[in-house]
């Protein structure tokens, strides 16, 4: 995220509270990139693939993905992103969810998830985990999606 061009963070999270807490803690870690928040899968996919400011048309992004969504499973979104023929498939996806089921984790990595994080219930741990994620986000390189054009 040290790219001069601002990398959008696409957060797909149906729980407003979680979204707010995640955002707060990411900001506390010093990450100031714009965060686009979606509470359902349909609008999130629409943004990713069709919006003029979305990753498909506008360049680098990072997806924070919750698996339990009202309209579809997070793994469906993950599969859509990772099987895409266009530049979106290189978008890093961080699965951030409450599930710690080993089969679910395996499945997400099989589908191409880049990072899988279980949300700790304990808030201190939660806040710390998100802050560490923020620190991680501040050092990782996000591919410039425009390169492939």
């Amino acid at each position: 995220m040290n790219a001069p061009q601002s990398v959008n963070i696409v957060m797909i999270e149906d729980d407003e509270g979680h979204a707010r807490l995640i955002e707060k803690n990411i900001r506390r870690a010093g990450i100031m990139n714009p965060i686009r928040h979606f509470t359902d899968g349909t609008s999130a996919l629409d943004y990713i693939f069709h919006d003029s400011t979305g990753p498909q048309l506008n360049g680098p992004a990072l997806v924070l993905l919750d698996l339990n969504l009202p309209d579809m499973s997070g793994t469906d979104i993950l599969a859509r992103i990772k099987t895409d023929e266009g530049p979106v498939k290189r978008t890093p996806v961080v699965v951030l969810t409450t599930t710690d089921d080993s089969r679910e984790i395996q499945r997400c990595y099989d589908l191409g998830a880049n990072v899988y994080i279980t949300k700790p219930v304990n808030y201190e741990s939660f806040a710390q985990a998100i802050r560490q994620l923020g620190l991680f986000l501040s050092v990782i390189q996000v591919p410039d999606l425009g390169d492939s054009h």
Binding site: D15, V121, N122, A127
Partner: protein, 502 residues
């Protein structure tokens, strides 16, 4: 489902009928045997009688012969008086005659008719003998003419004729007797054959009836056998269906528990997260109130001070404690549901070694509480899931260490025995015990018994029970308050490999 024939009455009727038939058959055989013996006896008697008749006839003929021979000799002597050979012949025959007559008398003593004839015969023979003697004497004196005269006497001739007639009649009487006896023998033989035929018919009837009875019984038997087999098959199907139902229900509950606990966690994250945010905000407010009190006491409001310093921290503290407890409870449910989903892998387990291993991991706490864990030497091995059994026994032993009586050194023994296809392990302690009213409750989730002076959520024994059920076993507690407790664990000797729940 076919009805089973009421087998007990059928059996009784069959037994009664078969024994009656056997008695009939036996009677018929006895009858035949009896008849055969009777006929044999009759034959024997008849044979003796026939022989007797022949002997009588023989004796009659003998007497007849001697009489005729004597007559011939006498006549010969009269014709040629000089021939002493004839006289000698005559005298020899006269000597033989009494023996022959005596024999005839012996043989015919039992028959009154013959006796009468015999009497007549003796008289006639005596008279004949007297005349013969007279003739011979006259001849001896040389009076041949006198002898011839005497011979010519009519009476003499009649005597010999009478003797002949008498002897003929005696023979006829015997022959008639024999005819009668032959008829009797034939009648008894006929009776014998009739009895044999009747008995044969009876035996044949008995055999046919027995055969039919046995056939019908066998048919009944095979029919009830079929019915039984059908019932069995039905039962097996029912068991399969029930097992499938139970498995489905269990899976449903597991899934439900997982979803519930999982989805309950999500809002809890918010509650806890925002409580933390609130705390941060409250501490900022507390700082502000403190500054206001210090710098502008006029603005300080007692209500605001109380809210910032006491009410807010108190409320936040309660929310915290409650959410933490809720978190632990949800974790417990999640853990239980996870255990239900784990695939079991049966393997042979040396339970004594397993218990000693558990004792090693607890050694610090054991020595701290002055507790001795004893493993009995004859602990039977079992084929089961090692992880699950480890958890069960660990929980039970940990509980025993946890709930000791203060001041009493702990004594925990693990014993076991084999009971046919099951193994039983008993974890016994001398701790504070469990009130009998709570024996069922202690296995329920979130339920605890006795003084709540030890940490815990009431999860351990619920987990134990869930695990034991999954291992196909049962668990029971026997205890009185203050007397220690004994947990009895019964497991199948061999846990069958299960398909993992999906």
């Amino acid at each position: 489902m076919a009805d089973l024939p009421a087998d007990a009455p059928v059996n009784r009727v069959l037994t009664r009928r078969m024994s009656a038939l056997m008695v009939f058959g036996f009677l018929a055989l006895v009858l035949v045997g009896y008849a055969a013996v009777r006929v044999m006896q009759r034959n024997e008697v008849h044979t003796r009688l026939v022989e007797h008749t022949y002997q009588v006839e023989n004796a009659v003929l003998n007497v007849h012969r001697l009489v005729e021979q004597g007559e011939t000799a006498r006549r010969g002597y009269m014709l040629v008086p000089g021939r002493t050979g004839a006289l000698a012949n005559f005298q020899r025959i006269e000597r033989q005659l009494p023996d022959a007559i005596a024999r005839l008398e012996r043989l015919t003593r039992d028959n009154p008719v013959q006796r009468r004839y015999h009497l007549g015969l003796r008289l006639q023979l005596a008279s004949l003998a007297a005349r013969r003697a007279n003739t011979i004497t006259l001849l001896g004196q040389g009076d041949r003419a006198g002898a011839l005269r005497a011979f010519e006497d009519d009476a003499e001739i009649r005597t010999i004729v009478t003797i002949r007639n008498l002897l003929d009649r005696m023979g006829a009487v015997e022959r008639r007797l024999m005819t009668l006896r032959d008829a009797e023998l034939r009648a008894s033989e006929r009776a014998f054959y009739t009895i044999i035929i009747l008995a044969g018919a009876l035996l044949a009837t008995v055999a046919v009836i027995s055969l039919l009875t046995i056939l019908s019984y066998t048919r009944d038997l095979s029919r009830s056998d079929e019915a039984l087999r059908a019932l069995n098959a039905g039962l097996e199907d029912m068991v399969v269906v029930r097992t499938a139902d139970l498995t489905r229900a269990n899976e449903e509950i597991q899934r439900f528990a997982y979803i519930v606990s999982h989805d309950l966690r999500s809002p809890l994250v918010n509650v806890m997260g925002f409580t933390a945010e609130l705390e941060t905000a409250a501490s900022a407010l507390r700082g502000l109130v403190a500054r206001v009190e210090a710098e502008a006491p006029a603005l300080a409001d007692e209500e605001a001070r109380l809210a910032a310093n006491e009410d807010l921290p108190e409320a936040i503290g309660f929310i915290r404690a409650s959410t933490q407890k809720m978190d632990r409870l949800i974790n417990a449910i999640l853990q239980l549901s996870r255990q239900g989903r784990r695939a079991l892998t049966p393997e042979k387990i040396d339970v004594a070694a397993l218990v000693r291993q558990i004792g090693d991991t607890l050694s610090h706490r054991l020595s701290e509480t002055d507790t001795v864990l004893t493993v009995e030497a004859d602990l039977p091995p079992v084929v089961s899931d090692r992880l699950a059994l480890d958890q069960v026994l660990s929980n039970l032993i940990e509980n025993a260490v946890k709930y000791l009586r203060p001041g009493v050194p702990g004594r925990i023994t693990v014993s076991g025995r084999r009971e046919r296809e099951r193994v039983v392990y008993i974890v016994r302690d001398n701790g504070r015990g469990i009130d009998p009213r709570d024996h069922a409750r202690v296995f329920d989730l979130f339920r605890r018994s006795g003084a709540q002076d030890r940490p815990g959520e009431g999860i351990g024994l619920a987990t134990v029970r869930a695990l034991v059920f999954r291992l196909g076993g049962t668990i029971d507690v026997a205890s009185t308050l203050g007397q220690g407790a004994a947990f009895t664990l019964s497991l199948p000797l061999v846990l069958l490999r299960q398909e993992p729940n999906s």
